[in-house]
């Protein structure tokens, strides 16, 4: 029953999170669609929390090894994902006050 009750609640969590995702992401402008992709990659690295337990629980050499590989894979996404997302977002800048076009840009050229 416990397991079942929990899984029932978790269906709510899944659906609600889906709603949130839909509502938020439909509002991300095309300008940032590529960072969005790498951002979700980074976030998907959260499976690390599962992998870590598998790798550390020491049930059997098999599960430990699988866990180890999982940790590696997930870590790649976390580290790589957040780094590249930040790299990208760092590049986006606006030219002074909105509306100010060429002028502002010229001003800022290095």
């Amino acid at each position: 029953m416990h397991q079942a009750a929990l899984q029932l609640v978790e269906i709510y969590v899944f659906l609600l999170a889906g709603f949130v995702g839909f509502l938020v992401i439909t509002r991300v402008p095309p300008l940032l669609h590529t960072p969005l992709m790498s951002a979700t990659n980074a976030i998907s690295g959260i499976s690390l929390v599962g992998s870590v337990v598998a790798a550390g629980a020491g049930h059997s050499s098999v599960t430990t090894f699988l866990g180890f590989l999982a940790v590696v894979a997930a870590t790649i996404n976390v580290v790589g994902g957040f780094l590249i997302t930040d790299r990208m977002l760092k590049m986006f800048r606006r030219a002074g006050p909105p509306g100010a076009r060429g002028e502002a840009a010229k001003g800022e050229d290095r």
């Binding site: 397991q3 899944f14 999170a17 590529t34 999982a70 940790v71 996404n77 976390v78 060429g102």
Partner: protein
């Protein structure tokens, strides 16, 4: 108990940070800080997990973290922006690998399914199914984009039949497992078949359609980690997975729409095929090619220039030269804007990132709806390695495979200069009348090289 509470708290915090992080992506100003907070959330969650009482030994964990970071760091720091599509594909693969392995480990741990309850089996099943399928699928996508595998669709007789059968068997095994979780053979067979399915799904799809596929795989990866969450009763996994899934799905819809194509059409590749052979029916038509000098003069004296970047700019990595040229034009008092088609390049937002990398302020990057009315009043439309997204056939020619795809109305500009290497077609593999219009002049050559020439000439002018 308190320990569990601490862990749960970190998971809760992580979930909130992730959502706020994605939300911050709705505005470029807030985006960076938001994602940095998301990273902090991730750190919290991982730190919390290390307290988990099931963990008895840490060296494998640390080893994994070390190796992973050693691989992830360079991937994050040095992958060029032009390689983003491959990179995204690769990281879907890693995500799926993690999810799948956790699933398999869980199953193996529970006496190879002997002690697995049915609802749990359901979760595990989904997890490894979507996971495995995404692993190989993403890998194929990666290989095609990276050119390790020919980008052209690979098809063979009876392919669909084969896939159908494969799929049916796999689903059958899944059902069997839910009834009898102990059937280990079925479990491992199912995983292997899922791996095969991943390959055979992506093989027949043309390289240029990969972005759509990638986004779909993104949502599968998301579902896989949500399933993991159900299996090990972890909410932050469920949430992150759902967010991923939503994102991937929405992006693939955006793309298909901007190409005015259906999923089905993309997945069972109606095009990117034979036509891809090359240009057709263009023999009769004249082509005005122009010298860098003449082009430079036009640009030097233009009041208003609209730059239309496309996949070619990415291939040539010419974004910095674009910026250089634009700055010169602005010095001469001309105004420069950039027309960004939603599917210009090979992934959503591709052009925006490249131009941002070249330090072009994003408020000069105009979306299609916004810029199209401005073409008639612009002196020079400078098309840099764009083709399909400026193909008037999409408006006029019902027979064209890209008919009804919304395009940039470059042909309505006072004059058009097109930078590309040859007359060969773009990804849709179709002829482009724009290149034969009499207000169009072609400046042949690699975009980067051509732009460098232009910069020199404009400096003289």
């Amino acid at each position: 108990m308190t320990r569990t509470l601490v862990i749960e708290a970190t998971y809760l915090a992580a979930s909130v940070f992730f959502i706020l992080g994605l939300r911050s992506l709705t505005r470029p100003e807030s985006a960076r800080r938001g994602m940095q907070q998301a990273a902090v959330g991730m750190l919290l969650a991982v730190a919390g997990t290390l307290l988990h009482h099931d963990i008895v030994e840490y060296h494998w964990i640390l080893a994994g973290l070390a190796v992973g970071s050693a691989i992830g760091w360079p991937m994050g720091m040095w992958v060029p922006m032009t390689a983003m599509p491959q990179r995204v594909a690769a990281s879907h693969m890693f995500g799926a690998v993690a999810a799948t392995l956790v699933g398999v480990a869980e199953y193996h741990k529970l006496g190879n399914g002997a002690w697995v309850a049915r609802p749990l089996m359901g979760a595990l099943g989904f997890e490894v199914l979507f996971g495995a399928l995404t692993i190989t699928g993403s890998f194929m996508a990666f290989a095609k984009l990276q050119g390790l595998v020919p980008g052209v669709p690979i098809t063979f007789r009876g392919q669909n039949a084969a896939n159908g059968g494969l799929f049916a068997v796999t689903v059958g095994l899944f059902l069997l497992l839910v009834l009898d979780p102990g059937a280990a053979w079925a479990f491992y067979l199912m995983v292997s078949l899922a791996l095969v399915i991943g390959v055979s799904l992506v093989l027949p799809i043309g390289g240029a359609d990969m972005p759509v596929v990638i986004s779909l795989l993104n949502s599968y990866a998301g579902l896989a980690s949500s399933a993991t969450g159900f299996a090990i009763g972890n909410n932050v996994l469920i949430i992150a997975g759902a967010l991923d899934g939503a994102s991937g799905f929405i992006l693939s819809v955006v793309m298909s729409r901007a190409m005015s194509r259906s999923f089905g059409n993309v997945l069972f590749g109606a095009f990117g095929q034979p036509q891809a052979a090359g240009p057709r029916g263009a023999e009769g038509l004249a082509v005005r090619s122009i010298s860098a000098e003449d082009a430079a003069v036009r640009l030097a004296y233009a009041r208003s220039v609209i730059v239309v970047p496309g996949y070619g700019m990415a291939v040539a990595q010419a974004q910095h030269q674009v910026k250089e040229l634009a700055t010169l034009v602005e010095r001469n008092g001309g105004e420069v804007k950039y027309a960004i088609h939603p599917v210009a390049g090979r992934m959503p937002g591709h052009m925006n990132v490249l131009l941002a990398e070249a330090d072009i302020p994003y408020d000069k990057l105009k979306e299609m709806e916004e810029i199209n009315p401005e073409f008639p009043s612009c002196d020079v439309a400078l098309v840099i390695g764009a083709n399909d997204v400026v193909n008037p056939a999409a408006r006029s020619d019902r027979s064209s495979p890209i008919y009804a795809m919304p395009i940039l109305d470059v042909d309505r500009a006072r004059s058009v200069i097109v930078l590309k290497r040859s007359m060969s077609p773009g990804f849709a593999g179709i002829e482009n009348q724009l290149f034969h219009a009499e207000n169009t002049s072609m400046l042949f050559g690699d975009a980067k090289a051509s732009l460098q020439k232009l910069v020199e000439e404009v400096k003289q002018a």
